[in-house]
Symmetry: C2
Subunit: 330 residues, 2 copies
């Protein structure tokens, strides 16, 4: 079968690999569509721990069960499913075990034609979504779900800021918060992304490169109860300043690096939470899909291309111009 | 009556003030003993917002109800009580209202002979404690109670680090965590304070000025679930490094100032919480006293002196050599 591997530093390559053999408790899935995450591009750039040359990349996929292994209920056969990319979260729902990682590095991932996987790692594709739309859900949806609900405690009426809307996790956090009945604000430096967010239901959209964006944000929102962020860096103090008392800043990445001089005085007086978050546990994979089904959420797709052209999607992600997920289909 | 006021920048003075008149729903209390908090010394040094010349200082006191106002149950008359120093916490238990403050600035405080106060702001003194011991409880006990239980979620078996043990809040956090059945570790740069903490039940005590203290702390504890801190500053990264996954760093002050370059990468990967905390709501005042009664906790008292000599206690607090609370009695 064909698989996209990391062939060298900065180099992606299609390779022929053996179709995986099916073990007990596993299903064999023929992949229909896959979606990119920033993680994939970071691995391409050598910016990720544990990279092994020759690993099949990819954490997000939708596919059809074409064979069931021993001890697996036949009901799965022929079903279109999504794959939970967690490997070894472990027993504690609050935090992953030390050897936890995600499919696609160092364990072989999903950018390939067939995968054999434990049946407890799959769930039925939401029936309101085509395979190439549903493929966008797992990693981004799980990360957003945990950040927004487990850590952020988002409720109907919460005032939520999603920073850097348009990114994979940010778009899900945006859609999930709207579906929950929150009042949702966004930031982006890209005018198109801001207009798109307003169209989709944002109460206001701010350009964090404007000097006065915090003033405007304070006026239009009155302050935020929850911020979902993946930038951190020196902009963190702007966020701290915009928080309502007892507000929660949840971050699942730090693309702008470590912050300098964070205003801990305002933090303790206003009882602000700065909360690190990463991915989600196996139960949350299922809870997220239930939420998506119930609210008939449709992932925002930037573009869909044939699997042969998936490297173009990596290039587009590097430029950061996409709004929504980059998908490739077989 | 005699009252200790802030008379000028850095200047404390005894003044004669009128004994307060009793209003509806209030009780008149004859103060028996008062205790100092860092806040009092900070006000003396001009390092606190809202300082008004002539304000009676003081947030902690124990006294006897000598008169009850209209609509107050007579049962209070003659009772020894502690005073909740909260002014205007407001309706939201999660966070104080914008005009919230603490008795002693800008509202007149408790370093005086008589005070008239709403009956819903008092609670019976724990019967196992003398007035001059019980006087140490309110502000420090409330702050510690909220940091440790509301934010820190301390349970039996939690591994807890109390930094800067010997300080007013730190000592209560230390005692409360031990009473809850946690495994408690402490830091101090003062050898006497470290030995005292071991005597009182700490599993180990570390000198944060030692270069290798984090290595020693990691070896002896295996990592912390909760840190209760009031220093922050550049030591924050040491704490982040020592946290178990999903660990919570709760801080109620920042005497070492703003941290530089905090390791947000480790924070998001290990799902670490950095949580600001301040004082406690009115319900927690009562819950804290119930906890103290149930566990027969005895506040650690550094020294007790006559009220006439209370300025000496301020001087001792400034030097930071005390272990436990500084008390003055009438």
């Amino acid at each position: 079968m064909k698989a996209l591997v990391i062939a060298d530093n900065h180099k992606l390559e299609f390779r022929e690999k053996e179709t995986p053999a099916l073990k007990e408790n596993q299903v064999l899935i023929k992949i229909q569509a896959v979606a990119l995450n920033h993680r994939d591009q970071f691995i391409r750039e050598g910016k990720y721990p544990g990279i092994k040359i020759g690993t099949t990349l990819g954490s997000d996929a939708c596919g059809r069960v074409i064979e069931t292994g021993e001890k697996v209920d036949e009901v799965w056969k022929g079903m279109d499913v999504l794959i939970n990319p967690n490997v070894g979260w472990g027993e504690n729902p609050n935090v992953q075990a030390p050897d936890y990682h995600i499919l696609g590095t160092p364990t072989d991932g999903l950018f390939c034609e067939y995968v054999a996987i434990d049946v407890n790692k799959i769930a039925e594709k939401p029936t309101h979504l085509d395979a190439e739309i549903a493929a966008a859900l797992p990693l981004g949806g799980m990360t957003a779900y945990r950040a927004l609900f487990h850590h952020g405690k988002c409720e109907a009426g919460s005032k939520v800021l999603i920073s850097g809307v348009g990114g994979g996790v940010a778009q899900f956090a945006f859609q999930f918060a709207l579906a929950k009945g929150a009042e949702v604000f966004v930031t982006s430096s890209d005018e198109n992304k801001r207009s798109k967010a307003i169209e989709l239901g944002a109460s206001a959209a701010f350009n964090y490169k404007d000097e006065n964006w915090t003033k405007e944000a304070k006026e239009k929102s009155g302050g935020f109860d929850i911020v979902i962020d993946s930038a951190v860096g020196d902009g963190l103090n702007d966020l701290i300043k915009l928080m309502n008392p007892a507000g929660r800043i949840v971050f699942y990445g730090a693309t702008n690096g470590k912050p300098k001089d964070i205003d801990v005085f305002r933090m303790f007086w206003n009882q602000i939470t700065l909360q690190g978050s990463t991915m989600a546990n196996d139960d949350e994979f299922k809870a997220m899909l239930t939420f998506v089904k119930k609210n008939r959420i449709e992932p925002i797709i930037d573009s869909i291309r044939p699997f042969e052209n998936i490297v173009e999607a990596f290039d587009k992600m590097k430029e950061g111009k996409q709004f929504g997920k980059l998908v490739a289909k077989f």
